[in-house]
């Protein structure tokens, strides 16, 4: 009797964690291992010959100017997505926090874009910005500006940034408004009595208290811009014109599945993995140290 109950208890924990473990193994550890292994191989497009080449893929990659272009594109793109997305979310959160009547209504509306699938969001903005049928280019033409993101790389970047920001700012908004509502009202009142005007109150009292939230969101947004904007780019510019919107993740896809250079594509994946791990470590370090003021 006694033995049996111990046996049951011993097995049960494993059974309970098994689904999560299996998902992690099948969808993360195994593919990551595959990528790592493949990054050391050179294969021809049809898989007839395979050669183990150690770090040659990495060396080739890092000496390829196209890869550095992609890094630059990703950096610029991530900066703007994170910056615009967070600034817009903070502005809207600060305003929504002040709304007393119908605040739920505004907050719900502002959260909606997050529920929209990335491809749908991208197509929505693609249509709005379409040089032939889009509403915004039509309006821009009225003031004498010819919008064509198919030809102009800056405009292409603006399009993917706007679509990505629109998709993400709701997420930032939720965190900022929760952060704002967690700040005791009496602190703001004390600052008002201490002679700080609204603008100064925001930057000297509210903003520092939001900084842990802001840092968390910065990491999340950079990760988002790096990895989750693939659908947006794929549905709008496909990396073009030229290579002007070809981010690192998009390049992984293109080199691997269109160029069929699996070795190089895997090597790029491994480098991206290193970046994500670094960002995560930085975040955990910061969260542990800096969050308590």
């Amino acid at each position: 009797m006694h033995d049996k109950s111990v046996f049951q208890h011993r097995l049960l924990p494993y059974v309970l964690v098994a689904p999560q473990l299996i998902i992690t193994l099948v969808f993360f550890i195994w593919p990551a291992g595959q990528a790592l292994y493949q990054s050391f191989l050179v294969e021809d497009a049809f898989g007839f010959s395979t050669e183990f080449v150690w770090f040659e893929n990495f060396i080739y990659l890092l000496s390829d100017p196209e890869y550095w272009t992609s890094i630059r594109v990703t950096a610029v793109f991530s900066f703007w997505v994170a910056f615009v997305g967070m600034a817009l979310a903070l502005l809207l959160a600060a305003m929504a926090d002040k709304v007393i009547r119908g605040s739920r209504f505004y907050q719900t509306l502002l959260i909606w874009p997050y529920a929209v699938a990335p491809v749908v969001a991208a197509v929505l903005w693609l249509m709005l910005f379409s040089p032939s049928i889009g509403l915004l280019p039509f309006w821009l033409s009225k003031v004498g500006y010819q919008w064509n993101h198919l030809a102009n790389s800056v405009e292409a970047n603006i399009l993917v940034i706007i679509a990505s920001v629109w998709k993400q700012f709701s997420y930032n908004f939720i965190f900022f408004i929760a952060g704002l509502q967690a700040i005791p009202r009496s602190l703001i009142e004390a600052a008002a009595i201490d002679g700080a005007r609204p603008f100064r109150r925001f930057w000297q009292i509210v903003f520092p208290l939001l900084s842990p939230t802001a840092f968390f969101l910065l990491v999340v947004n950079v990760v988002y811009a790096f990895f989750e904007t693939f659908a947006v780019i794929h549905a709008t510019t496909q990396g073009g014109p030229g290579n002007s919107t070809k981010t690192l993740v998009y390049k992984v896809f293109e080199d691997g599945f269109i160029g069929l250079d699996l070795g190089s594509s895997s090597a790029q994946s491994v480098l991206l993995m290193v970046i994500v791990i670094t960002l995560t470590v930085v975040q955990f370090r910061y969260v542990e140290k800096k969050v308590q003021y």
Binding site: I193, G195, A196, R197, Q292, Y293
Partner: protein, 356 residues
């Protein structure tokens, strides 16, 4: 330093709730005024209107000779101590205290001198570099006080500043607040729901209930001559006892047990009245002299005093009698008691106002 005048002050919220109703108060220069009442009585709202944190719906608010209704909190030259202290968590104690001075554009040297002076007064010099999270409740309280006194404002406002402290610290800080206020001679308005705190601190006490002022006066006057049943029940610890009694004629009161009491002065009322008497104004006596006999149900020995609970004869009204701690009592004992005739309070059962 300044006097304050509140004239026909009203506060009605957008949802139609009137928190403060036609409040009139003159607060003298250097006075320590305490607003006391149960939660929701409008005392905090009044304080927040003086601070400028709530708008005034109607009426006038003057600090000194200046009408301040439409001035920003910063321009009213007041300092406020909040219940949760409201210290800026990301700033050191020094910066917390300096913040108000910095915003007013004082020179670095002046700020430093004033902050160090205030810190010395409050004995928190050793904490100047610490952040609020590291401080104990009492230390945070001191820093909050420091932030108020460092600016040397016209008026101190206190919004239940001691309610987050434990009982012992509360008594200690109470004395300290009183001492600081006397030393600086600054006008102070202090909000609390604790009547002991109110009695001990106040030069004058304002008892509020349901958005209205019930009575204003020095603590002893409110204790001895409560203007309404509410004030009578609120001021004094333990609380006053109430009984329904009957006025046979202007000088004779009939108690529920049939006992007749001759009043020292004739009163201008007849019929049913509410009789109020404090537990400490019941004395034990011989059975012949007694007004009623209390059968003791519960005894609370406090050391200096002993509290006795039991129903008034022929009623189910619980009565509390305070007796000297020297005497020994036991449950079920029947104790003959006598009212102090000079300290009976009569209230109109309808208006609840004092009958004289």
């Amino acid at each position: 330093m300044a006097s304050l005048t509140l004239t026909h002050l009203n506060k009605t919220y957008p949802n139609g709730f009137t928190a403060v109703h036609d409040l009139n108060l003159d607060i003298n220069d250097g006075e320590f005024l305490v607003l006391v009442g149960p939660s929701g009585c409008g005392k905090s709202t009044t304080l927040r209107m003086v601070a400028g944190l709530e708008t005034v719906s109607s009426g006038d608010l003057h600090i000194g000779d200046q009408r301040v209704n439409d001035l920003e909190p910063a321009d009213r030259d007041i300092a406020m101590v909040f219940q949760n202290y409201a210290l800026y968590p990301h700033m050191t104690v020094y910066k917390n205290m300096a913040y108000g001075l910095k915003n007013r554009g004082e020179s670095r040297a002046d700020i430093d001198r004033k902050v160090r002076e205030a810190a010395q007064t409050l004995d928190i010099e050793h904490l100047l570099d610490a952040k609020p999270a590291r401080l104990s409740g009492g230390q945070r309280q001191r820093v909050a006080m420091g932030r108020a006194i460092v600016r040397n404002p016209q008026v101190f406002l206190f919004d239940e500043p001691l309610s987050n402290l434990d009982a012992k610290l509360r008594v200690q800080m109470r004395i300290e607040i009183k001492r600081l206020q006397q030393r600086f001679g600054t006008t102070a308005i202090y909000v609390t729901h604790d009547q002991v705190e109110a009695m001990t601190l106040a030069d004058r006490l304002v008892v509020m209930n349901g958005g209205k002022v019930e009575q204003v006066g020095p603590p002893i006057e409110l204790y001895e001559q409560p203007a309404s049943r509410f004030v009578a029940g609120f001021i004094g610890s333990p609380a006053m006892n109430f009984l329904t009694a009957h006025l046979e004629n202007p000088t004779t009161l009939v108690l529920p047990n049939g006992q007749r009491l001759e009043l020292p002065q004739a009163v201008d009322h007849s019929g049913e009245v509410m009789l109020g008497f404090r537990p400490e104004h019941l004395e034990s006596c011989s059975p012949e002299q007694s007004d009623f006999t209390l059968s003791v149900e519960i005894i609370e020995p406090l050391g200096a005093d002993t509290l006795l609970y039991g129903n008034f004869p022929d009623t189910d009204t619980l009565v509390l009698a305070e007796q000297s701690g020297k005497a020994r009592f036991h449950s079920g004992e029947r104790i003959p008691l006598r009212f102090d005739r000079q300290r009976l309070h009569l209230f109109d059962p309808q208006t609840e106002l004092r009958i004289t």
